[in-house]
């Protein structure tokens, strides 16, 4: 196991390095630059700005400077937000996104998995059909729609919940629900089909034959095996939710990493783009590694090599 983790870590480092390199060159090759949007910049002022951020040097030299900076833990200064380092900005924005995303993940796991399991146990009955219809409809709603419908009902009509910002606990409800909607129903579908798969297996019949109670059979044999595909989905999901959904953050006016990232791309804040991309890439890679390890713990048949 430690050998496997080491091997994966090295592979991940290579992937992260390639992602960083690719992003750096793609970003710089795209026409335009960070100072184009600012009006009435004299050529001298622009040259001075470029010199300050090292943008006047040859591209390859910029690349090596940036890469050696990263190795020392220095992600550079943001161009658009004067005087703040990229690490500081990510450090303040990420916790906001992570809190909303983490709550959404907990909500999705705690409702999606039981819903799917319940549907599978009542296969063909009314409750199963209802859940299948609900979950198929649930994954057909784009997030910007579900969140506007939520706002329409709970803010405009009922006036129960605030629609903007994250001031108090109440204001978390709508963004978290909107964010959790898709993964909840997706997981319910996934759980249902894998549960049905497991319940048809021979070992379930064996368990019944040797007199294991239904309760024990479900929790000890069925759930543990059925949850594997859901765990696979959990890795990318965790990364996607924690790093912030641009749409949800824009609609609910949440100062998270997702909306920060999009605005840094449109304004060509090069150090900010690089920093966030590397951060996201490393986060996704670590989450996938966690999932693989969790997989081996849940399913002893899997040997990590």
């Amino acid at each position: 196991m430690p050998k496997y983790i080491l091997k994966r870590a090295i592979m991940s480092l290579i992937t992260a390095f390639l992602v960083a390199t690719l992003t750096f060159f793609v970003m710089n090759m795209v026409p335009g630059g960070p100072f184009l949007s600012e009006k009435a910049v004299t050529p001298q002022a622009q040259a001075a700005m470029e010199a300050k951020y090292g943008l006047d040097k040859p591209l390859f030299q910029q690349y090596t400077t940036y890469m050696t900076g990263i190795l020392k833990g220095d992600f550079g200064l943001s161009i658009k937000k004067r005087g703040r380092t990229v690490s500081q900005i990510i450090g303040t924005k990420f916790p906001v996104s992570a809190k909303v995303g983490g709550l959404a993940l907990i909500l999705a796991v705690c409702t999606g998995i039981p819903l799917g399991a319940v549907a599978a146990f009542n296969r063909g009955k009314f409750i199963d059909n209802l859940l299948v219809v609900l979950s198929t409809a649930g994954i057909a709603i784009p997030s910007f729609l579900s969140s506007t419908i939520l706002i329409y009902i709970f803010t405009t009509k009922l006036k129960w919940l605030p629609s903007l910002g994250l001031k108090d606990a109440q204001s978390y409800i709508m963004p978290v629900v909107a964010l959790a909607l898709y993964p909840t129903f997706y997981m319910a579908r996934l759980m249902r089909s894998s549960m049905l798969d497991v319940m048809g297996q021979d070992y379930m019949r064996t368990a019944k034959a040797k007199g294991v109670t239904t309760f024990k059979a479900i929790f000890k044999h069925a759930l543990r095996n059925a949850i594997l595909p859901v765990i696979t989905y959990l890795g990318p999901l965790l990364a996607a939710l924690m790093t912030g959904s641009f749409i949800i953050e824009k609609i609910f006016n949440i100062p998270g990493l997702g909306s920060e990232f999009v605005s840094s791309i449109t304004s060509r804040d090069y150090p900010m783009i690089m920093g966030t991309t590397i951060f996201l890439a490393v986060f996704i890679i670590i989450m996938n590694l966690f999932v693989d390890i969790a997989y081996a713990i849940v399913d002893p048949r899997i040997k990590l090599k």
Partner: protein
């Protein structure tokens, strides 16, 4: 003779038992069904699935509505009517009211008009057409690129597989928003320059955003398909017919295209059908970012995101395109599920 036959210990046999069977006798012994091909079997199971059949019917209906009705509709999607801005559904503007009073027939604005005086019903229908086109074209692009990439990686294995799958990993890890925004900005000017040249007039009609959207799909979203196809090919390449083809001297290209990809056609159909709704999803997301199709051409995503600003006063402007997106995605999802139940060999036994 009679005596002999009645004696159970006699070794004499009746010669009648050895006469060749007549055709009728032979036929009465045949209990075999007609052989059922893969397609017939799948179609039979698909037809029995009521939900999938109604989903297919709805997809068919929406396709007809979105592709044929705009041709005969009395209004055009880009036609701006002065004086009839922001009409409620079924409401007439003052000039139209005068025409009606004078005895003329005026086609009602079924869903009202938008802030530029354009009939909203036709915009929603054309938007549905654009979204469906984007979904279909993007899915075909993803199908072609993903299946070829996945098949090559899966068939050759080893170092080739490792390098190709690292490329997939990298594309998977680079945030897609980054590539989409950068690509849209990069491609804008070259595409517009290309569109103004003779022979590329069709590009102007589509708009540079739509083309760069297809390029985005072709560059980024095939990785899921590649992974699925790769895992299928890795199992299939162990089959005897591949060994047989190799023994007969078939080249790798022939084996991949003539034997392997053809044999995972079921998976390909299902994955592509399920890819269509997710492409429509992505298109509506891109439109929300302002990177979707170019005005005045509508798409369901751009209509919905434009309606977001005023949805408290004009909720129907949001709910009409939203409902159509919902119905399209839902029926494609149900159709895909039905196709999977019908054609996935793993689900056959259950």
């Amino acid at each position: 003779m009679e005596e002999i036959k009645n004696n159970p210990l006699s070794l004499q046999w009746s010669l009648e038992d050895f006469t060749p069977a007549s055709v009728e006798d032979k036929e009465s012994l045949v209990f075999m069904r007609e052989s059922v091909s893969f397609w017939k079997d799948g179609l039979h199971r698909f037809r029995k699935n009521k939900i999938a059949m109604s989903a297919l019917f709805i997809v068919f209906l929406i396709t007809i509505c979105c592709f044929l009705i705009p041709g005969v509709y009395p209004y055009k999607y880009e036609q701006q009517m002065k004086g009839s801005e922001r009409l409620a559904p079924m409401q007439y503007s003052k000039t139209e009211q005068k025409q009606i009073d004078a005895g003329e027939k005026v086609f009602p604005h079924l869903l009202g008009t938008d802030q530029n005086g354009r009939d909203y019903m036709i915009r929603v229908l054309v938007g549905g057409r654009v979204s469906m086109t984007v979904g279909l074209v993007a899915s075909v692009l993803i199908l072609v690129i993903g299946s070829i990439f996945g098949a090559i990686a899966g068939y050759f294995g080893g170092l080739v597989d490792m390098i190709m799958m690292r490329i997939v990993d990298i594309i998977y890890t680079v945030p897609d928003v980054l590539i989409i925004i950068l690509l849209a900005q990069t491609l804008k000017f070259p595409l517009e320059a290309l569109a103004s040249k003779p022979g590329f007039a069709w590009m102007q009609k589509l708009g540079s955003n739509m083309i760069s959207m297809f390029i985005v799909f072709a560059l980024l979203y095939w990785v899921g398909m590649a992974r699925i196809v790769r895992s299928q090919i890795m199992v299939l390449k162990q089959s005897e017919y591949v060994t047989a083809a190799k023994a007969l001297g078939a080249g790798s290209g022939r084996i991949i295209f003539k034997h392997l990809i053809v044999n995972c056609i079921g998976t390909l159909i299902v994955t592509t059908t399920l890819q269509i709704p997710s492409s429509i999803f992505t298109e509506s997301f891109l439109s929300f970012l302002g990177l979707g199709v170019q005005a005045p051409m509508p798409s369901l995503g751009s209509l919905a995101s434009a309606a977001l600003n005023g949805f408290q006063t004009y909720p129907e402007k949001l709910f009409a395109p939203a409902f159509l997106i919902f119905i399209i995605i839902l029926s494609f999802n149900l159709l895909g599920d039905g196709l999977r139940d019908a054609f996935d060999p793993k689900l056959k036994q259950q």
